[in-house]
Amino acid sequence: MADDAATTDAATETPEEEVEAVQPDELREGIVARFGDLLGDALVDSLIDPGVDLTIRVRTDAWRAAADVARNHLGARYFCFLSAIDWLPSPYGRSMDSEVDTVLAAQAGDVAEPRSSEIVQGTTGGDTRFQVFARVAHLNGDGGFWGITIKADVPDDSLTVESWVPIYAGADWHEREAWEMFGLTFTGHPGLRNIYLPSGFEGHPLRKDYPLLSRMVKPWPGIVDVEPMPTDDEDGDGGGAAAEGSAEGGDS
């Protein structure tokens, strides 16, 4: 949606502010060090955003152990969420500025391969298509708050990790959600069953290869309705191409 208040088109211009001096974050470095002590080489990677956030990645077999360390050794008693992520690039989705709709073009035989299917993991890396990640936090009310995101790879062949329910009871519903949405199994969970979807639902909707039907029928709802403003020439390259693309989509 066009934003009237935005006055510049410089796509990569960074705001002219002095870059904050990166300060060493002793609190979070200490936490990572404790994890390293307690988990040994099961701590694969860590990323500290100084003063803001902390992410670590642990080996799959240390997934529950990491929760144990966080809760019982480091005092992160607050469970925030647990979820998963599918790093496979979507074979369906089409970016607004790509020339053709990959799905429809592939059906018509125009492009052999819709999109690069190379998996690019995010921060702290990874080796598998699926990753589980969870966030816990330590709250003590006097400003000594810290939170940590813990990630782990999910083996591609078994799609199974240990459940966190024995450590954080609240992980129950979150694991049920990840189970139905991604098809991951959590060993030790008291009862994996559908939470949102009707029982008997086929497929795992949040996997990237699960087609979103509304997108198949009508690519980019919203953008088809936007025509370039007559006086606004600079806008033409983005919105216009997309409008054309969807017009083509409507024909085929």
Partner: protein, 390 residues
């Protein structure tokens, strides 16, 4: 598995066990009561399957998903601006507050910071949606307990707040006012003075509701000691917001981890209550509304001048990266884990909504209570279905 540390809770459990033995001797037969999805006490379409022995609940299982809209999937195929309009509808009573953490996450990935005036107006609107949200809770709690009068006061006075939100944003319920880098518009003329008058009304409302509801002994007998959540259990289940503070955990993201909003400059107080029962949850929210009016008054007095929009590109491509931003929403901690791969759309958005965690404690909490207490507990936990089902 779940550690029970509270002595009162232990006593209650022992008493229930004794009751259960009596019932085994009487050989009574249980009954399954299906509360919802169409039921006045479930604020939407939550369903609770309760196994009853007489009026006592043996086991209760909430069933969600009647309104699941798949926002996490949908936002993967929408631009950030389009996805913001979805986020708006997660917790539909505090819509503006839902937009903020999503926008803040995108701003962090883009390394953009909103100008101070935008930050202040955001904070004002954030607190106004909290007030509108919690005013409804304060009235609704009465209705769930059978007192119909307070809810009319609540609807009356919430209207003033909604009018102010509408005057500023153009939308009563779904403002969609937040943009990456700032806000859509500046405040209209005279809005500040009107808002301060409305805050006065809200404070009067708080006093009224305190008289009308908390002044009635029946209200206390119905809420004191009902649905006690010990702090440790609350944290394990990830309860947040007033539910956690009512269990005595002194934690408020506005104070402890304020990102991109104007709270650190203000003088206000985080209220906690040691009891952890339904009454405590009501009381904490009542105090929170009062604090919010104070926050808005201060912000209105010290509103900086300047632009309301930072320099952002016309077509927003968010650089690759991952960001987690959460804010203290009316219902509790609302956070977005945004993963971007440098595209126009987010690669993955994990929506951490407060009600999902807040309600996940109900199977633990509802065991052994009476049927009317189910309603009390659900009302005091205060959830919005859109916030559970996303």
């Amino acid at each position: 598995m779940t550690a029970v540390t509270d002595r009162r809770q232990l006593q209650q459990i022992a008493a229930r066990a004794a009751d259960a033995r009596v019932n085994v001797e009487l050989e009574t037969e249980g009954m399954t009561l299906n509360i919802g999805p169409q039921h006045p006490a479930t604020h939407g379409t939550l369903r609770i399957v309760a196994r009853l022995d007489g009026e006592q609940v043996i086991a209760a299982e909430p069933v969600a998903g009647y309104m699941h809209r798949g926002y996490e999937k949908l936002s993967e195929v929408r631009t950030y601006a389009q996805a913001t309009a979805l986020m708006n509808r997660i917790d539909w009573l505090g819509s503006f507050a839902n937009e903020v953490p999503f926008i803040l996450a995108a701003e962090r990935l883009m390394d953009v910071e909103a100008p101070p005036r935008a930050t202040h107006i955001r904070t004002i609107l954030f607190e106004m949606s909290r007030i509108a949200h919690l005013i409804l809770f304060l009235g609704d709690m009465g209705v769930q307990l059978g007192a119909v009068t307070p809810v009319f006061f609540a609807f009356r006075d919430r209207e003033f707040v909604l009018n102010q939100i509408e005057a500023a944003t153009g939308g009563r319920f779904h403002p969609y006012f937040d943009r990456i880098g700032g806000l859509k518009d500046d405040l209209p003329k005279g809005w500040i003075a009107d808002t301060k008058a409305v805050m006065e009304k809200v404070r009067t409302f708080c006093d009224e509701i305190e008289d009308v509801l908390m002044g009635a002994e029946i209200f206390e007998t119905r809420t004191r000691g009902i649905g006690v959540i010990p702090p440790d259990v609350a944290q394990q289940y990830g309860l947040s917001g007033a539910n956690l503070r009512a269990s005595g955990v002194d934690w408020d993201l506005r104070r402890d981890n304020c990102v991109g909003l104007a709270y650190p400059e203000l003088d206000w107080k985080v209220w906690t209550h040691p009891d952890g029962d339904s009454f405590a949850r009501f009381w904490v929210r009542l105090q929170e509304v009062r604090e919010s009016t104070k926050i808005i008054d201060q912000l209105c007095d010290g509103l900086p001048s300047g632009p309301i929009m930072a320099k952002v590109p016309r077509i927003i491509k968010v650089p690759a990266g991952e960001a987690w931003v959460s804010t203290e929403n009316p219902l509790g901690e609302m956070g977005y884990y945004v993963v971007s791969q440098g595209d126009l759309t987010p690669f993955r958005v994990k929506i951490r909504s407060a009600s999902f965690n807040n309600v996940s404690i109900t199977p633990w909490l509802l065991r052994g209570v009476y049927v009317p207490d189910i309603i009390t507990i659900l009302a005091s936990l205060y959830f919005i279905l859109g916030d559970i089902d996303r």
